[in-house]
C-alpha cells in the first residue's frame, strides 16, 4: 500500500495547507466572498469529504461540487427507460451497482429487480458480454454510463461483440462528455467560479488539450488533479498559485496517469463506435448541446435504443428537489429544503443523494454534523 499511503502523508498535508493559507491571504478574499474552486469530478468530491480536506482549509476557500458524477446527472426519464427495458421478459439488464438505487419516476432498477425483472450487477461491460455468450436465448443489455472514463471500455465491448458475432448483446448508451458540460457551467448566468480542479480519469483518456478554451476564452485556471488527498491539496495550491501570479493556464498535477494527448487507442475505439448526440438531458442542468453520445449507425444492431422501443419521456424532477442548484454550485446540499428530511440515502429523492460520489450523499454521510464548532478546542492541531 506504499504507493497509496505516500499520497496521504499528514505532515505533507499540513505543510501544503499552510502554503495554501499563505496564498489565500495574498489573494485577500474574506469569508463572505470566498474563492470558489469547482472540483468537476465526483471522485474528488468523495476524497474531499472522506479525508476531511475542507477542514484543513481557511474559510476563504470553498469547494463547489461539480457535475462529474455520472449517476447523479442521470435524468429520471432515462431511469424509467432502463426499467422499461429491464422489465421485458427476454432481457437480462446489466448495470454497474451504483445505478441500481437511482430513483425513476415509478421505481428504481433495484425495485424492478425485486418485482421480477432480471437485473444483474456487473463490474465490467465484458461481464455483460460473457452473460450474452452464456445465455444465447436471452437478450443482454448493458447500461452504458459515465464520461470519457468508461466510454472506451464500452466501445471496445461493442467492437468485441461484433468480432465474436454475438448478436444478443446490446448497449443502452447514456455516456456523456465533459467538455460541453464545463462550458455550460461557465456560460450559466451568475457564474462566480474562480478556478477548476479538472477530472483526472477523464483526462487520462482525452488528455489536457481539450481544456485550453477554459484558460484562453474564459480566463479561468484549471489543474487536472489526482484523487488522493495530497493530489487534491497540491492541485488546489497550483490553482491558487496561478491566481496569485495572474496566470490562467491548464496545468496537469496528475502527470503520473494523464498524458498530454490522452490515450489514442481508447479515443480511436470511442470514435469508431460513438457519435455526438445533438443534445442530452441532464438532471438539474437541463438539456446541454452535444453533451452525450449515441451508437453509430454502423453498429445499430448493438444499440438497445434502436433494437427495442424505449419510452424516452422527459420527466421533471420532484418539485422539492434542488439537485440542479446544488450541481451548479448555487446552494450547498445542507441548504436544500429536503436534505436529510424527505431526501436521505435510504429514500433518495434526487440522484445526488444516491451515489457515494454525489455531493448530497457525501455531505449526509461525512459532514451531516458540522464538526467545525466541535473542533475549536483542537484548533492548535489543525492550524499547526
Amino acid at each position: 500500500m506504499k504507493h497509496v499511503d505516500e499520497f496521504r502523508d499528514p505532515a505533507k498535508a499540513r505543510a501544503l495547507a499552510a502554503e495554501i493559507r499563505q496564498l489565500a491571504r495574498q489573494i485577500g478574499r474574506g469569508p463572505d466572498n470566498p474563492l470558489l474552486v469547482m472540483e468537476v469530478c465526483g471522485g474528488h468530491t468523495h476524497a474531499i469529504f472522506r479525508y476531511g480536506i475542507q477542514q484543513l482549509l481557511p474559510d476563504t476557500i470553498e469547494f463547489v461540487h461539480g457535475p462529474g458524477c455520472p449517476v447523479c446527472v442521470l435524468p429520471m426519464g432515462r431511469v424509467d427507460d432502463c426499467v422499461a427495458l429491464a422489465e421485458r421478459p427476454e432481457v437480462i439488464f446489466t448495470t454497474f451497482g451504483d445505478a441500481m438505487r437511482v430513483p425513476g419516476s415509478r421505481k428504481s432498477l433495484l425495485k424492478a429487480k425485486a418485482e421480477g425483472a432480471d437485473v444483474r450487477m456487473v463490474y465490467s461491460p465484458l461481464d455483460a458480454l460473457q452473460l450474452a455468450r452464456d445465455n444465447p436465448g436471452r437478450e443482454v443489455i448493458f447500461f452504458g454510463l459515465g464520461f470519457e472514463t468508461t466510454m472506451p471500455s464500452t466501445a471496445m465491448t461493442v467492437l468485441e461483440a461484433k468480432r465474436q458475432g454475438i448478436d444478443n448483446f446490446s448497449l443502452f448508451c447514456n455516456h456523456i462528455t465533459i467538455i460541453p458540460t464545463i462550458k455550460a457551467i461557465l456560460d450559466s448566468p451568475g457564474m462566480q467560479l474562480d478556478g477548476f480542479l479538472g477530472p483526472g480519469h477523464v483526462s487520462m483518456v482525452i488528455g489536457t488539450a481539450p481544456y485550453q478554451f477554459i484558460a484562453q476564452h474564459y480566463r479561468k485556471p484549471l489543474v487536472v488533479a489526482g484523487f488522493e488527498p495530497l493530489d487534491v491539496l497540491q492541485s488546489l495550491w497550483m490553482v491558487l498559485r496561478q491566481i496569485v501570479d495572474g496566470r490562467c493556464e491548464i496545468e496537469n498535477q496528475y502527470g503520473r496517469i494523464v498524458p498530454e494527448h490522452g490515450n489514442e487507442v481508447a479515443l480511436r475505439s470511442v470514435q469508431e463506435v460513438f457519435e455526438l448526440r445533438e443534445f442530452f438531458e441532464w438532471r438539474g442542468l437541463g438539456s446541454i448541446d452535444h453533451s452525450g453520445v449515441r451508437v453509430r449507425e454502423a453498429y445499430a444492431q448493438y444499440d438497445a435504443e434502436r433494437k427495442f422501443p424505449v419510452p424516452n419521456l422527459k420527466i421533471a424532477d420532484p418539485k422539492s428537489c434542488q439537485c440542479g442548484e446544488v450541481l451548479k454550485g448555487a446552494i450547498k446540499p445542507r441548504d436544500c429544503k429536503v436534505f436529510g428530511t424527505a431526501c436521505t440515502p435510504q429514500t433518495p429523492l434526487g440522484s445526488l443523494m444516491v451515489s457515494s460520489e454525489g455531493a448530497c450523499a457525501a455531505y449526509y454521510q461525512y459532514a451531516r454534523i458540522d464538526t467545525s464548532r466541535l473542533r475549536e478546542d483542537r484548533q492548535d492541531k489543525v492550524s499547526a
Binding site: 500500500m1 499528514p10 476531511g52 451531516r368 464538526t371
Partner: protein, 355 residues
C-alpha cells in the same frame, strides 16, 4: 421435533445416495437415515442420544455457571459455502457462540436447523457438518437438538443453517449498548473487514489474485479473559454485518454519547486495505466474524489490552477511539490525513449474503 435423535442409538445406517433428494425431508426412512448417518454421529452427546423431541436441561446444573440465561438465534445463508478461513458450518457455530459471548455469557448449548436444496451433494453436507462438529468442540458447546428440511431445487440455494444458543451469564456482569460514557475507551481485538473481503474475493467475480482468510473464530474465551481483567466492561458487541461503523453508531445512539475514532490506530491487513482501495469499499463497514468491539472505562484500557493480547484471538487488540460527550449519537473519524468526518450507519448493502 428433535429429528437428530431419530435413530435407534446403536446401529448407524450409512446412506448410499450421493445427492439430497426430496425423500430426505419426507419424515420417512430416508430422512431418518440421513440424520442418523450425517448428523447424529458428528454431534454425538448425551442429550442428543436421549432420543427425545427436545433437549431438557437441569436448572440447578445450569445455575452453577451463573444467574441469568442468555438465549439467541441466527440464520446462515453465506455464498459461497466454503471460503478461505472457514465455511458455513464454522460460521453457524461461531456466530451464535459469539452472540452469546457478547453478553458475557458462557455458551453451553446450540440447536441446528438446516434447509437443504434438492440436489445438494451429500459430501458437501458432510463437510459442513464436520466443520460444525469441530467448531462446537473448539468452542466447548454441545449441539443438542435439530431439524432437517429439504426443499425443491431452486427453492433455496444449496444449504441454509439456523442455530439458536443458550448460555449462562456469570453474576456481576452488566454489559449493555447503553452504558458507554465520556472517558471510556473503544477497543477491538484485531484487523477489520477480513471476513467481508474474504467472501468478496472468494466469489471470484473480481479477478483479484489475493486470498484473504476469513477471521471466523469463537470469542467467548477472549471475553472471559477481558472480564477477568475488567468486570465492569460497559459495552460489547461482535462487529459482523455492517462492521465496526455500525456497532459504534449503535453504542453512540443507545448511550447518547459521541465516539471519536483515530483512523491511524485501526488495524488493517494490507491485502484487505488493497482490496478496499480497488473496489471503493470502506473497511469500517466490512463484515467480521471473529471481531468484537468493547467500550471499557478509560483506566482499564491497559489491563484489558494485556489480557486480550495474551490470547490468539486478541493478539492484534488495539485501542482505536474514545467516548466523548458530544456530538451525541454520532461517530466521528479523525482521519490519518488530519481532517475528520462523520461515520454513519451503513446505507443499503455493500454485499449480499455474507454470513
Amino acid at each position: 421435533m428433535n429429528d437428530f435423535s431419530a435413530n435407534d442409538g446403536k446401529r448407524r445406517p450409512r446412506i448410499n445416495d450421493t445427492h439430497v433428494n426430496l425423500s430426505h425431508g419426507s419424515g420417512g426412512k430416508a430422512m431418518r437415515d440421513l440424520i442418523a448417518d450425517v448428523f447424529v454421529g458428528a454431534f454425538d452427546n448425551p442429550s442428543l442420544s436421549a432420543l427425545e423431541d427436545q433437549a431438557v436441561f437441569d436448572l440447578k446444573q445450569l445455575g452453577t455457571h451463573g444467574e441469568r440465561l442468555a438465549f439467541t438465534t441466527d440464520t446462515y445463508v453465506v455464498d459461497p459455502l466454503f471460503f478461505p478461513g472457514g465455511d458455513i458450518g464454522h460460521l453457524a457455530v461461531n456466530g451464535t457462540v459469539n452472540d452469546l459471548a457478547m453478553s458475557g455469557a458462557r455458551p453451553l448449548y446450540l440447536s441446528c436447523g438446516v434447509v437443504l436444496e434438492e440436489g445438494l451433494p451429500i459430501e458437501t453436507l458432510r463437510r459442513v457438518v464436520e466443520s460444525m462438529r469441530q467448531a462446537a468442540l473448539a468452542a466447548g458447546v454441545q449441539i443438542v437438538t435439530g431439524d432437517t428440511k429439504v426443499v425443491e431445487r431452486g427453492s433455496a440455494d444449496k444449504l441454509f443453517i439456523n442455530t439458536a444458543g443458550i448460555g449462562v451469564v456469570p453474576a456481576g456482569i452488566n454489559i449493555s449498548a447503553s452504558r458507554a460514557q465520556p472517558g471510556d475507551a473503544v477497543i477491538i481485538n484485531g484487523t477489520l473487514g477480513d471476513h467481508g473481503a474474504a467472501i468478496l474475493i472468494a466469489r471470484g467475480q473480481l479477478a483479484l489474485q489475493a486470498e484473504v482468510p476469513s477471521d471466523c473464530q469463537p470469542l467467548h474465551e477472549l471475553v472471559a479473559a477481558m472480564l477477568r481483567a475488567c468486570p465492569d466492561i460497559h459495552c460489547l458487541r461482535d462487529a459482523t454485518r455492517g462492521g465496526l461503523a455500525t456497532v459504534l453508531n449503535e453504542f453512540a445512539q443507545s448511550s447518547q454519547v459521541g465516539i471519536r475514532l483515530q483512523e491511524q490506530t485501526l488495524p488493517l491487513r494490507e491485502d484487505v486495505k488493497g482490496a478496499c482501495e480497488i473496489l471503493g469499499l470502506d473497511p469500517l463497514y466490512l463484515a467480521n466474524e471473529g471481531k468484537l468491539v468493547a467500550v471499557v472505562p478509560g483506566e482499564a484500557v491497559e489491563a484489558v489490552l494485556a489480557a486480550m493480547r495474551a490470547l490468539p484471538a486478541g493478539r492484534d487488540a488495539a485501542c482505536v477511539g474514545r467516548v466523548v460527550a458530544a456530538p451525541r449519537g454520532a461517530v466521528i473519524l479523525e482521519t490519518g490525513f488530519g481532517g475528520e468526518r462523520v461515520v454513519d450507519m451503513l446505507v443499503g448493502e455493500q454485499l449480499p449474503r455474507i454470513c
